[in-house]
Symmetry: C2
Subunit: 159 residues, 2 copies
């Protein structure tokens, strides 16, 4: 298990993601720990993260899956390249597709555990599966397509 | 175009959704206006809703799509039944699947426009397509499966 989450190695000038950026003061601070096979993350929803009484908001769960799956893809890609995370040239990804199946309602008041695995490691696309567990019960399952990009410092089309 | 968003008709005791609940003080307050053919919603992301510099967080966009597509499904189902929204017996849905394709980065600093349409109106499942536009450019496209349930006042399995 890596000692530090992969998000700690994201470059400072782009680490403002609401989901996982270390420089977003209002964000969720999702953290991904990669052990060479599985990306693991835990998150306890805040009281306001409800869908309906007693259950977690699906949009919050989609957000956790998004950042954690992208983090897992990046960590695994460094691993596949035989390089330490954060070394140059930067390896980074953005989300191409996020496909989330809500198997059953996810209860509030417990720590959620996310486990992500690499289904396909391509040169351009990395496919990641992710399950969300509440008290050892899988409540949500997802597949995410991470698209490798040279940098997250995009230029606007109009620039 | 309906004068009131469908979310105004959600029952008070369950209207605490982080995405669209009128009784969630910290939530996003997503609103869906149904005109008999298209569900429309607008949302201007808050400054903290960034993915990377200048662009909107994908998890926020997934959240907007989730609540707006479910709202569209509910409004359309009342319409299909020939009933005014909010009349008894309640028609409500939860999200079964959310499949979001990010076509291009979505810029910060502009109002986003969501348009949702009914692809399939079933007794148990309603399939909704949704596009997100930023300055008339479609940046995200999604398909959501809304599952009809008798009520959002779920009981926990352990109860």
């Amino acid at each position: 298990m890596s000692q530090q989450p992969i998000q700690n190695f994201y470059k400072d000038d782009v680490a403002i993601c609401y989901g996982c950026g270390k420089h977003n003061a209002d964000g969720l601070h999702i953290k991904t720990f990669w052990d060479g096979e599985i990306g693991r993350s835990t998150f306890t929803p805040r009281p306001e993260h409800t869908a309906f009484p007693g259950f977690v908001y699906g949009g919050l769960i989609a957000s956790l899956i998004d950042c954690h799956s992208i983090g897992t893809a990046i960590a695994a890609a460094y691993d596949a390249a035989g390089r330490a995370p954060g070394t140059d040239p930067e390896i980074t990804c953005v989300t191409g597709n996020l496909n989330v199946s809500y198997l059953k309602p996810t209860p509030m008041g417990v720590e959620l555990v996310l486990e992500a695995r690499i289904k396909e490691m391509g040169e351009r696309k990395i496919v990641v599966t992710c399950s969300v567990y509440a008290q050892d019960v899988e409540t949500v399952r997802a597949e995410t397509v991470a698209v490798r990009v040279p940098s997250r410092m995009f230029k606007k089309e109009a620039d």
